[in-house]
Amino acid sequence: MFNLKRLLPLFFIVLSCKTYSQNKQLLYGFAEIPQTLLLNPGAETNYKFHAGLPLLSGFSSEFGATGFTITDLFTIDNRSINNKVSEVLNKLTAKDHIKFNTQIEILNAGFRFNDKNYVSFGFYQEIDAIIYIPKDPLNLIIEGNTGYLNKNFDVSQILFKADALGVLHFGVTRQVSDKFTFGARFKMYSSALNIESSKNSGTFTTVNGSDNMYIHYLDNVNVNVKTSGLVANDEYVDTLKTYLANTFLGSNIGIGIDVGFTSHLSDQLEFTGSILDLGFIKHKKNSKNLFIKGSYKFEGIKFGYNPDNSINYWNDLEEDFTEKVPNGDNQDSYISWRPTKLNTSLKYSFGQKRSKYCYDNSYKAFYRNAIGVQLYSIFRPLTSQWALTGFFEKSFTEKLHAKVTYTLDDYSFYNIGAGFSAQIGKLNFYGMIDNIVQFSDIASANSVSLQLGINIIFN
C-alpha cells in the first residue's frame, strides 16, 4: 500500500507531461518555447535554431475522466467495491468518458531558413484513447435484464476510439509582416494500432409476452468495431516491437495538416489561432472489423408436437437469427479521422516595456505583463469538447517567464495552472503544472497534466 500510494503521484507525473492532442493551455503561445510551434505553427519565434533533447524534450501523458474520480472507487472507507462501482455507474451518463493520451518526442528541431521563414520538423509517437461510458450495455452485463423489463438498452452508447501512431512532421512559419505571422505543418501519420467503434445504433428490450412469458427484441441494431494493427494473420499482435516498428512509415499511412497564425492588432493586442491535425489515416493492412446488424424478435422455442415433421428448433433458430441479424468479421479497409483541435487566443500586453535580443542581431520590444483568454476545442466521436482559459503572463527578465491560467472545461470548473520558462545559456527549460488545486489529492482530480521539456536554443 505504502509503495503504491507513493508511486501514484510519480505515475501521474510521468504520465502527465506534455500532450499534443489535449488542451495545453499553459504551453500555448507561451514564451516562444519551440514546442508552441506544435500547437500553433504560426507562433512567433525569435531564435536561429532549436533542438529538443530526445526523450527529455517531450515525453508526456494525460488522464482525464468526467463523472467520477479514482477516489470514488478506491478510497479506503470500509464500503464494498461492488457498492462503490454501482454508485459510480448510477451517477454516470452516456456522455461521461475516460480519456488517455501519452506521447514521446523522438526528434524535434528547427532552424531559421531566412529572415522570414523558420522551419521546424520532428517525429513523435502517440497513444490517444477515449471511451464513452456505455451505461446501458454495462448495466446489461453487470446486472442483467431481469430488473429492467421494458427498458430499451441503447447499444448506440458503445463509442470509443484508441490510436497508437507515429507522426512525422515538417512545418514552416513565415513572418508575412511585422504584424502577421502564418504557419503550416504537414504531418504524415503511421498507425500502429487503431480500434474504434462509432455511429452504432439499436436497442435490446425485454417485455412481457403473450404467446410466451417474455419477448426479447433486438431493434435496428447496427454495431461495428473496426481494428487495424491488432490482428495479423489471424493472430493477435502482442509484441511491443511490432507496434513500435509500425509507428514509422508502416502500412497504414495518413496525412494531415496544422495551420495557424499570430496577428498583432495593435502594439499591445495580439490575436492567434490554429487548427491542428486536420487529417486522416487509411487503414488497409491487418484490419479486422466486427459487425452485427438487423432486428430480431425472440419469444422462445415453439414446440409443434408434429411427429410427421420433426423440427430441429435450435438450428432453425440459429439460421433465422443469422439471416435476420447478420454478424461476423471482415478485413475491409477504412478511414479514421484524426481528432482535430482548434486553438485561439487574445492577449493584451501591458506594463514596463523591455527589449530582447533577436536572431537578426536586433532587439525586440516586449511588455513584462500580459493577460488574455484562450479557447480550445477538440472534435471527439460524440461531441466537441471545449475549454475556456483566462491567463496572466509575467516576464521577470528577458529569459525568465511565468504564466498562470484558470480553465473551465468538461473536467473542472476550478482548474488553475502555472508554468515557467527559463533560458540558461543555450538551454531552455520549462515546467508547467495543471490543476494545482487538486495536486494535494491527485486521485480526486478529474484530470491532471504536467509539462516539462528541455531544448537547446540558439538566438
Binding site: 503521484p9 478510497t75 464494498s80 461492488n82 435484464n145 431481469t146 414446440f303 408436437y305 438450428n315 489529492d441
Partner: protein, 178 residues
C-alpha cells in the same frame, strides 16, 4: 548540470507536495458482478386433434424435444450459479394432463428432471417454479436438449374437432457470478 538539478528539484517538489489519500487499488480483486438474465424458453399450445396419429388413433402422450446449447458457451457454463425456472399452464381440457420436463445431454441421458406436473382439468392458471443450484446439481451444465412430454392418462376419448387448448409457457432466470 544546472538544468538537471532544476529538473530533479522540480520532480522532488512535485512528489513531495502531490499526494494520493487513502487509496487501496487491491479492492478491485474483490469486485465481482452477479447479473441475472431472464429468458423465454419453450412454449406451445396443443389442441385435441394433435393427440391423434395419422391413422386417427388417439395417443396417450405427445412428446417434443429441442436442442438447448446455451451451456456450450464456456462463459455461461463457468459462471453459472443458479437457474430458476417458471412455468405457466392453461388447461382447458376436460381431463387431467401430466407434463414431464426433462433436461438431457447429447447421449439422451437425463441431467435433470422436474417432478411431474399434474394439471387438473380446466385449471386455467397453473404455475410452477423450481430453482436449480448449480453447485449441488453440476450435471445441469451438461444439458444440450430439453424434452417436454404431455400425457393423458384418462383413457377417455377426445373430440378431435374441439377447440379446447392446453397452453404452456416457460422462462428461466439465469444467475451468474463473474
Amino acid at each position: 548540470m544546472l538544468i538537471n538539478k532544476l529538473s530533479l528539484i522540480l520532480f522532488c517538489f512535485l512528489v513531495i507536495t502531490s499526494c494520493v489519500k487513502n487509496l487501496d487499488f487491491s479492492q478491485i480483486e474483490e469486485y465481482s458482478i452477479s447479473p441475472e438474465y431472464t429468458v423465454s424458453l419453450t412454449y406451445f399450445t396443443i389442441l385435441p386433434f394433435q393427440f391423434f396419429n395419422k391413422a386417427g388413433v388417439q395417443e396417450a402422450e405427445k412428446s417434443d424435444i429441442t436442442d438447448f446449447r446455451v451451456f456450450e458457451n464456456s462463459n455461461v457454463r463457468d459462471k453459472l450459479v443458479k437457474l430458476h425456472f417458471y412455468v405457466e399452464i392453461k388447461n382447458e381440457f376436460d381431463r387431467d394432463l401430466t407434463l414431464q420436463i426433462s433436461f438431457l445431454d447429447d447421449n439422451m441421458n437425463v441431467t435433470h428432471r422436474f417432478n411431474d406436473l399434474k394439471v387438473i382439468a380446466n385449471n386455467l392458471n397453473y404455475q410452477f417454479d423450481e430453482t436449480i443450484d448449480v453447485s449441488a446439481n453440476p450435471n445441469i451444465k451438461s444439458t444440450t436438449k430439453v424434452r417436454v412430454v404431455v400425457i393423458d392418462n384418462s383413457a377417455k376419448p377426445l373430440n378431435d374437432s374441439a377447440k379446447t387448448e392446453f397452453e404452456f409457457k416457460s422462462s428461466v432466470n439465469i444467475y451468474m457470478n463473474v
